[in-house]
């Protein structure tokens, strides 16, 4: 597994490896011998290369809280795929299309109305299920194409937001 850490908002690539049975830390193309001594009560003596320090460390899930030299640090382990994700988003999308044929149960927005992400735009029913179509981003409603009781086909454009 490739390890990525976020320390104070900065993403850091550091790997713990083994060389001839001894642990080493690689970071910035540099390898340093590392030794961690558990002193009990969440206290550790950490030696990296020729530097050594005592610190307090507590783990909670993916987060480590470190107290070192009078300062607190939050270290978060990042997911490899998530960190490398391209950031595709809904920001440019202008239409909400019907996932399946159905009828309109309620219309909760009108053209010209400003909406925030998560606001209910329209509620549809199909196959005994009510589905809420919510604003996928902040914006202004350009058009609501159906009214209560109308039926529609799959992929019909239900609501449009302005670009």
């Amino acid at each position: 597994m490739r390890s990525l850490y976020n320390i104070a908002g900065q993403s850091i690539d550091a790997q713990l490896l083994r060389r001839a049975g001894k642990p080493v830390l690689t970071h910035d193309n540099k390898e340093s011998a590392i030794n961690i001594q558990d002193l009990g009560d969440d206290e550790y003596r950490v030696t990296v290369g020729d530097q050594s320090a005592s610190l307090l460390a507590v783990r909670e899930g993916d987060q480590y809280f470190i107290h070192l030299n009078g300062r607190n640090y939050l270290i978060e382990c990042e997911d490899e795929a998530q960190a490398a994700a391209g950031g595709a988003s809904d920001a440019d999308r202008t239409t909400a299309t019907a996932p399946m044929p159905g009828t309109v149960v309620s219309v909760n927005a009108e053209a010209g109305q400003a909406v925030s992400e998560g606001d209910t735009l329209i509620v549809i029913e199909s196959m005994k299920m009510e589905t809420t179509i919510a604003a996928w981003r902040d914006g202004t409603v350009a058009a609501v194409n159906f009214k209560v009781g109308d039926s529609f086909d799959r992929l019909a454009v239900l609501v449009q937001l302005e670009e």
Partner: protein, 535 residues
């Protein structure tokens, strides 16, 4: 593995309202369960103490290792039958730990009608033994039953899954090398006599325990012989003379301790190795489930929000996140065990069915157990979908599911309608264990749809006769159908009929699945094999 990012606002009005509603639903369930477990007429409890017998719950407490969980199954079986005269179907069953070994426990409850077996008691014992066979689990029987409930004898005796099946299953278990211990704490009469007789080991309590083919009243009627129960089939007769029972005991406490000692002598079973890592609590609090489950099952929500509150670290490696989005599939860990999980995010379309079939094949290929979170209104209907072959794509999903050789577990988390029940591993498809949430509902189609269909048929019939109906008359046909559907589709009805292995509090789902997965690994996992996929 990526953590699910919840979009739930726990401060929203909707969340608070859902939570209030679902906590009431939960409290109602817990109260029904408490009543089934503990509410007994005082005279029955007095009778037990006069007979120096312990209450069934106390016997189980003595049997299992202190501080270990007991996964009780079908605690509300028969809650809608026999005017409530048979709480939990007069039997307690469940998975517990005895001297470090996972075992199935079957305990008769003689505080109700002498522990007589009703038809649903038979169904519950047979199911318990099926679970033992499927998961290769040893069984401890705590026997104290008057035998079949005679007023209903025609429904407990002769059919394929009635009385005889208990003994057939016991023999099959023995043949597989899975041992059973019976502790005779009361009378084991007629068919009941075969439970200890077919067990590998049996313990019998002096004074209260007895085993005989015909009890004293039957013997008197048949031959005129007058004899006490103890002389006829008591502890000393069977442990000293007949050899029907193995170990004598002077008290229930001694008998149960002896049973624990016997279980400790079983050879430890090598468990099937599946991918496993150190367990981690879910990142999102399972208590938040109450605020997510909608008040009405027909309201759609994202099943990932449930997954986030059931699995280790709320981490989810989602499979085909952009394809067939109404079926959410992916890998998770539950109590460290890697499983493939499938949850519904709407109706099953062609693409979602294909995705489900493919995902299940992946899980079978790498021997990964499957967990189904069932909230499904069915496969999509309409000409466009028939044209695309929704029937044959659904058939592929059902084929992959039904032929899966990995252990399967199902949780009914919402609606379960029509063939959706099949695709998502309903009761007929042999989930190792199947649990229901108290809000869940099961029926062949929605109540409203069924009522509409029946009204349409009626109207068409009458039209031929030249009769038309007014609104009131239509309502008179519709309303009773709706009411019946409502009653027969709720979770209490399905659990009463043993269509599941019990209703559970949603927050207990993670633990129940953990125990279930662990127990299932007592059996090996076969290589994948299927029938014909209609391509």
């Amino acid at each position: 593995m990526q953590r699910i990012i919840s979009k739930i606002d726990t401060n929203s009005e909707l969340f608070k309202k859902n939570k209030e509603h679902n906590l009431n639903v939960r409290d109602e369930f817990l109260e029904k369960q408490r009543q089934a477990r503990f509410d007994r007429p005082q005279r029955d409890l007095d009778r037990l103490s006069r007979q120096k017998k312990l209450f069934v719950r106390d016997r189980i407490d003595l049997l299992i290792d202190p501080g270990t969980p007991f996964l009780e199954l079908s605690s509300l079986a028969a809650n809608r039958s026999y005017d409530g005269d048979s709480p939990s179907a007069s039997i307690v069953t469940g998975i517990g730990i005895v001297n470090g070994r996972e075992v199935l426990i079957h305990a008769d409850d003689s505080s109700v009608k002498g522990g007589a077996w009703y038809p649903l008691s038979m169904k519950k014992i047979v199911r318990m033994l099926d679970i033992a066979i499927e998961n290769k689990l040893p069984v401890v029987h705590l026997c104290d039953s008057a035998g079949g409930f005679l007023p209903l004898q025609s429904k407990v005796f002769a059919d394929r899954h009635q009385g005889g099946r208990v003994f057939r299953n016991q023999c099959q278990l023995s043949k597989m090398g899975i041992p059973q211990v019976s502790v005779v704490l009361g009378h084991c009469t007629a068919g009941g006599a075969y439970i200890p007789s077919l067990s590998e080991y049996s313990v019998i309590v002096r004074g209260t325990g007895a085993v005989f083919l015909g009890g004293p009243p039957l013997v008197k009627a048949a031959t005129g012989e007058i004899i006490t129960a103890d002389e006829l089939g008591g502890c000393d007769l069977h442990t000293q003379i007949s050899g029907t029972a193995d170990y004598p005991a002077d008290s229930e406490q001694e008998a149960i301790a002896k049973a624990r000692e016997i279980v400790a002598q079983f050879n430890p079973r090598e468990k099937t190795k599946i991918a496993q890592q150190a367990p981690e609590e879910p990142f999102y609090d399972p208590e938040e489930l109450y605020g997510i489950i909608p008040q009405d099952n027909k309201l759609q929500y994202d099943v990932r929000e449930l997954i986030a509150r059931l699995v280790d670290g709320s981490r989810f490696s989602e499979y085909q996140p952009a394809y067939g989005s109404t079926l959410v599939c992916g890998f998770v860990h539950i109590w460290g065990y890697k499983v493939g999980i499938l949850g519904n995010n709407g109706v099953l379309f062609n693409d979602s069915s294909l995705k489900g079939a493919h995902f299940m094949q992946l899980c079978n290929q790498n021997k990964t157990p499957l967990v189904f979170l069932q909230n499904i209104t069915g496969f999509m209907v309409g000409r466009e979908y028939e044209k695309m072959g929704i029937c044959k794509d659904g058939a592929k999903m059902i084929m992959a599911q039904a032929c899966s050789n990995v252990p399967k577990f199902t949780v009914m988390v919402g609606g379960s309608f029509g063939a959706g029940n099949y695709g998502m591993c309903g009761r007929a498809f042999d989930s190792r264990l199947l649990f229901s949430w108290p809000n869940s509902k099961i029926s062949v189609m929605g109540g409203e749809q069924a009522a509409d269909v029946l009204v349409d048929i009626k109207l068409a019939q009458l039209k031929k006769e030249g009769v038309t109906l007014n609104e009131e008359e239509i309502a008179a046909i519709r309303e009773p159908v709706l009411a019946e559907y409502e009653k027969e589709s709720d979770a209490y009805h399905s659990t009463s009929e043993l269509w599941d292995d019990g209703i559970i509090d949603p927050v207990d789902t993670r633990n129940a699945l953990g125990i279930a997965i662990s127990a299932s690994l007592n059996e090996s996992i076969e290589d994948p094999s299927y029938g014909i996929f209609r391509v």
